[in-house]
């Protein structure tokens, strides 16, 4: 069987995490090509529905990344993101989807290396979990 290449949808805040992802590239730090980045202004913009929609449509993982606590460009959007992500993880558990498929990470504009290691780590973890079971359902149908 071909190696499973997970697809991770990543919502990155413009000010820290998106900049951190850029810095990883500028510094030529290599990480797996598994993520697909959606830029938002702040992690506080992320509605739980965005995450659930991504899983419903077959995302193997979803990453929400924002500024470190206390550093949000809009004061506290990241704390709101944290609460929402916890909520979605509980929902996922209830649905029987591994909550590890959803991650919230803090990545600052100067942490290119951290961004890369988050992607590496998450990709490896999701490889172990296997594809999003929703996709399997479709195959069985």
């Amino acid at each position: 069987m071909a190696e499973f290449n997970p697809k991770i949808v990543a919502f990155l805040c413009n000010w820290c995490s998106y900049a951190g992802a850029d810095l990883a590239g500028v510094s030529r730090i290599q990480y797996p090509p598994s993520i697909r980045v959606v830029r938002v202004m702040c992690s506080g913009r992320i509605n739980p529905a965005f995450i659930l929609d991504a899983f419903k449509n077959g995302a193997d993982g979803v990453l929400v990344a924002g500024c470190h606590p206390g550093d949000c460009h809009y004061i506290a959007g990241n704390y709101k993101a944290q609460r929402r992500v916890l909520l979605v993880q509980k929902l996922m558990e209830a649905f029987g989807l591994e909550p590890e498929r959803l991650r919230l990470e803090w990545v600052s504009a100067s942490e290119g290396d951290r961004f890369a290691s988050v992607v590496k780590d998450m990709t490896a973890e999701i490889r172990k979990l296997g594809p999003n079971p929703i996709k399997m359902l479709e195959v069985e149908d």
């Binding site: 992802a21 030529r28 730090i29 202004m41 913009r45 529905a49 449509n57 995302a59 809009y74 504009a109």
Partner: protein, 565 residues
Amino acid sequence: MATPKKEIPRVGVFVCHCGINIGGVVKVSEVVEFAKTIPDVAYAEANLYTCSSEGISKIKEAIKKYNLNRVVVASCTPRTHEPLFRNACEEAGLNKYLFEMANIRDQCSWAHMHEPEKATTKAKDLVKMAVAKARLLEPQDEPEIDVTPSALVIGGGISGMTAALSMANQGFNVNIVEREPELGGMLAKLHMLCPNFEDASKALSSIVDAVKSNQKINVLTSSEVEDVKGFIGNFDVTVKKDDKPLKLNQGTIVVATGAENFEPINMYGYKSNENVLTQMQLEKLLKTGDLRKPDKVVMIQCVGAREEKGRQYCSRICCGVAIKNALIIKDLYPETELFIIFRDLQTYGQEYEACYTEAREKGVHFIKYTSSNPPEVSSNSEGKLTIKTYDAFLKEMVELESDLVVLSTPLIPQKDAEKLSKILKVPLGSDGFFFEAHVKLRPIDFATDGIFVCGSAHSPKDISESISQALGVASRAAIPMANKHVRADAITSIINEDLCSGCGTCVRICPYGAIQKNEIGIAQVTSVVCKGCGTCAASCPEKAITMRHFTDDQITAQALAALEG
């Protein structure tokens, strides 16, 4: 609110090779062919450099020729290049919010350099995602915001003072925040300055006097920046002066916090032998006139710099500084023998090269060592120093006795640079110095509007280079202050009054107090106060809030496009 009739999207996609930066990894022609198959894409092409004037004209031509009403550029990052491409759209008569970028360089080709196939697949996905968002984009207006005509300069060294004076002379108020009790920075510790052997204290006192007597400049010493909120034009700054908080409203911010000098603890007998000094300590002895006549002086270059791991950069100033101090000692004590042991001599530019020639003519000896064979310094019981070094020209070991060993050590980032970078939300590079928006195109801007960097805060530099940057920064910062306005982003929230139930969640959650209930209990946004984070939209149980340019539909469409096929 009646929904206006939507026009059918005609998206143009421009895929950039960025020389080999993208084209060397991602198969650009494949991405272009793929783009043509995406619904609503009316036109797609590849460019060698989409951001070149040729690339920009191609976008403008294509908008007209193919009647495009949305544009996607797949290239580098919107954080540096979105303004340029948006302008191109505007010049071709397209509202600049009808533009979207796919980041296939910084977040693709550069990060997956050894996986061309997968990088190409990812680039296609990123283009598909950008098109999915672009199809749903709507034109926006940008409100004008006022700019406070006052600048904050952090750091009162030569760079900060130069920038402050230049801005003050252009008519703007300036606050200088200096951590130490006195202005001056590193310059206050130096004796004479290369390449022209000017007295450092004279150079310093003339600028300090000019700063202190300038009515427009307010100097805050023993002060530090504690907190910065807001955006270009209106930064709310909290400064701690003598442990008391002080609030400042500033239009622009200049980072001029300089650098520290590396202390080579445990290297070449430094600290254990008092005759092993740094160039900085030698400057002090020369300044105070306390240097007794040595028979021999040996200077060692690149101490703690250009390392294989760790501090890899060249500190740029040390070769000039060593030659300067060798010449000064030669002038004071013509009989003293001087040796400079170097790895590669970087006396760049005409003036420094002239100093080097002069040093050779005056009999300063230069010995080249290699990084694999660094010199060794030992001392006998009387404190006499022996230096053993490989001579790369003679290809043999040589041994020197000396009264004094002087270590040339690099400028290194300020200890609290990271703290300041977090307060300002601007990045540091891998070497720990402040990191500009673009190494070639925007060398003194940060990616964040209204914040600039100059001097050795950015990287090791001599004084003339620091001054050039400081003057550059002063004119960059003056642009918005002279215009008195900048165009604010249009990215704010709007409330659909028909859907709002008046629950008040958004009123409570908005970090800026930008949302209030009106007389009938319905939420209302004050657009100029709204900063566009979108937290309200994410929390509205009625889905009554739309974030301009980041609507629920746009974000979802972009995310789901990644998962198709």
